[in-house]
């Protein structure tokens, strides 16, 4: 909290307004990103992680709406009320985003080179020849063999891993300060996934950009991120570091999620589970949103919603106030495998 962060998100609320009242997909999310840092955002489907990222770039379509008093600032400059023209300048230039599906995020009727060059010409006003040279340079940077030849390929001529490399090349073509990677490896095979993770980590180091890495996979996030936030029910429920979150998870949701992951190196008879399923965003439970699935739940959790304290290590949970209850609840968890 010393200098002005590169990107700060405060009390971000994105609601989708429908006939049955608002769907509170993102409901009061705050975090900050420092230059050169990687922030991991972890959560299951429907927790609001993707909508939060799209909200930063103001890419949420109607009926989605960023609610009043939400704030997204890039180097101190407010983006939620910036003019659309200003946002166009920022997207792809200062803040870039890559998506989960490299198959559907590229335009099938343009060559990959022309799609990268388009971003460069738009944002940098480069000549066609310079933009093409930049496209070739970017393809080389992301490890595509024979970039001079590949620049004229169409997306369907490339494999999934190669397409994701093209997406990364396109996102980085204008040297963004922030790269938002939304599940960039989920659609890829595990050996390709490892390659792409290595590539992202290496490029980040080399180019000095900050990165928001969104994933449902704690293993991947721990590999690439410095700090991690865990989302549940449209809110941040835990804020931690990549190391700390595995050794000492604070929120019962994080704890449950870690226990339910099968461990590659050991065989257990039974996996520990979080009972129930993720609630739907138009009916968040009252009180703590995790309470119907929580093994430690008591009266307070059912009626009062806990808040997220500030600080690097924090959890949105009443256990933070009454830690002695953690011991009581432990015996109620379905499995008691030692970790």
């Amino acid at each position: 909290m010393t200098a002005v962060p590169l990107l700060s998100v405060e009390n971000l609320r994105t609601y989708f307004h429908g006939a049955d009242g608002p769907v509170r997909a993102v409901d009061g999310v705050s975090f900050a990103l420092q230059p050169g840092e990687t922030l991991g955002i972890v959560g299951e489907s429907g927790c609001g992680k993707t909508v939060a990222c799209l909200s930063i770039l103001r890419l949420v379509d109607h009926p989605g709406h960023i609610e009043p008093n939400s704030s997204v600032r890039l180097r101190g400059r407010e983006l939620t009320d910036a003019a659309e023209a200003e946002m166009r300048e920022i997207r792809g230039n200062e803040i870039s985003m890559i998506f989960q599906e490299p198959m559907t995020s590229l335009n099938p009727v343009w060559t990959v080179g022309s799609q990268i060059a388009e971003a460069v010409r738009l944002h940098r006003g480069s000549s066609a020849a310079d933009a093409r040279a930049r496209a070739i340079e970017m393809l080389g940077l992301v490890g595509i063999p024979e970039p001079e030849r590949r620049v004229d390929d169409y997306p369907h001529e490339l494999s999934g891993g190669m397409r994701q490399r093209v997406m990364i090349g396109m996102a980085l073509a204008c040297d963004p300060a922030v790269l938002i990677a939304d599940e960039p490896t989920t659609a890829l095979d595990v050996t390709i996934q490892a390659e792409i993770l290595d590539l992202l980590a290496e490029l980040q180091k080399r180019l000095g950009m900050a990165m928001i890495f969104v994933s449902h996979d704690l293993g991947i996030v721990s590999e690439i991120a410095d700090r991690v936030i865990v989302m549940y029910g449209g809110q941040v429920v835990e804020s931690s570091t990549a190391r700390e979150i595995f050794d000492r998870p604070r929120h019962p949701y994080t704890e449950g999620m870690l226990r339910s992951i099968p461990v590659l190196t050991q065989k257990s008879q039974r996996l520990s589970v979080i009972p129930g399923s993720v609630p739907s965003p138009n009916r968040w439970p009252v009180g703590c949103r995790f309470h119907p699935r929580c093994p430690y739940v008591w009266e307070r959790c059912r009626s009062e919603a806990p808040s997220l304290p500030t600080g690097t290590l924090a959890a949105r949970c009443w256990l933070e106030k009454e830690p002695e209850r953690r011991l009581g609840g432990h015996s109620r968890t379905p499995s008691s495998e030692a970790r």
């Binding site: 050996t191 293993g219 590999e223 590659l264 190196t265 979080i274």
Partner: protein, 330 residues
């Protein structure tokens, strides 16, 4: 389940030199110009009550293998025995009987359930098609099935969209169980589910296996799930099995260079990697087009790969105890 003799007697499913080649057609005359060898000479056995995991990346032929075993598609070559009987020789009636014993659970619980049918209609249909619905107790059968997969009796009235992903997969499992099968091909049954729900479904599959003495062919790309659920593991690469051994030894001591690379690419929750990282370079050139040579040749990181690897395909043979691997360099 150790001696060869006993295992032969205990084999429920026997797959011998199974192959499926899909034609590649081009041009106005739709001429066959080439074949994709999706499954290319695969042999293995499934013992009664065990879970064999079939592991590999997309396009390796694992799903095709599962569909071939169930005769959902017809093989190009090979032999398939189910409980000692050659399933490729079955007539329509025989095939229907076979389908009462061998079922499938699909990956996508969203796409594999009819959105216009309630759960009750869906399950009743299965029961009546196979003629096993009790005359005046079909609804009780439906309730029993739902109970077995952890759903409520009320859920019978619901449509697929009213369920969460995990519950939908439970419905898919109930549908497979309806005919009281001996054998289930589970094709990526938890890949589409969230981690917290994935564990619930894996536990359910394990429970059902115990209570109904089921044999599973568990198809997946996710290695961390494999060790948890499987007794033995077969690793596939470009249509061939490259390694086959019991789960513990495969995870402790992977033999084939591909298996080693695959294991090393899984990040551990908690940071770091289980094995020393071996980064495979994606074959930009694509799979080798000729049928000769080791299928893994172009991506193989082995320092001593040579002309023999390039020219002759290594057979799957015993390498270390009971473990089988297909590699000239082992």
């Amino acid at each position: 389940m150790t001696e060869g003799d006993v295992s032969a007697r205990n084999a429920l499913v026997e797959v011998e030199h199974l192959a499926k080649h899909f034609p590649v057609r081009r041009g106005v005359l739709n001429r066959t110009i080439d074949h994709v060898r999706a499954v290319d000479g695969v042999s293995f056995q499934l013992h009664r009550g065990e879970t064999l995991a079939l592991v590999g990346e997309s396009g390796c032929g694992k799903t095709t293998t599962g569909q071939l075993i169930l005769r959902l598609i017809e093989p190009t070559a090979g032999r398939l025995l189910f409980d000692g009987q050659d399933t490729l020789l079955l007539d329509r009636a025989g095939l229907r009987k076979f389908r009462r014993r061998a079922q499938i659970v699909f990956q996508d619980p969203y796409g594999s359930l009819n959105p216009r049918m309630t759960v009750r209609t869906m399950l009743r249909e299965v029961l009546s098609v196979h003629g096993i619905g009790r005359d005046n107790g079909v609804d009780d059968q439906v309730v029993e099935l739902l109970g077995a997969v952890g759903l409520q009796p009320d859920d019978a009235r619901k449509y697929p969209h009213e369920f969460s992903g995990g519950q939908r997969q439970r419905v898919g499992i109930a549908r497979a169980l309806a005919v009281q099968p001996d054998f289930i091909v589970a094709d990526e049954p938890v890949s589409a589910l969230d981690v917290s729900v994935q564990a619930q479904v894996l536990n359910l599959l394990a429970d059902l296996q115990k209570s109904f003495q089921l044999t599973y062919l568990f198809i997946t790309h996710d290695l961390s799930v494999v060790h948890h659920i499987a007794n033995r593991v077969a690793v596939m690469y470009l249509g061939k099995i490259v390694e086959l051994s019991d789960a513990d030894s495969l995870f402790r001591n992977p033999l084939h260079p591909y298996t080693r690379a695959l294991l090393s690419a899984v990040p551990l929750a908690g940071g770091g990697w289980a094995h020393e990282r071996i980064v495979l370079h994606s074959a930009a050139a694509g799979p080798p087009d000729s049928a000769t040579g080791c299928p893994f040749y172009s991506r193989c990181p082995h320092p001593e790969k040579d002309s023999r690897c390039r020219s002759s395909a290594p057979p799957l043979e015993p390498k270390d105890g009971d473990a089988l691997a297909a590699c000239h360099k082992l």
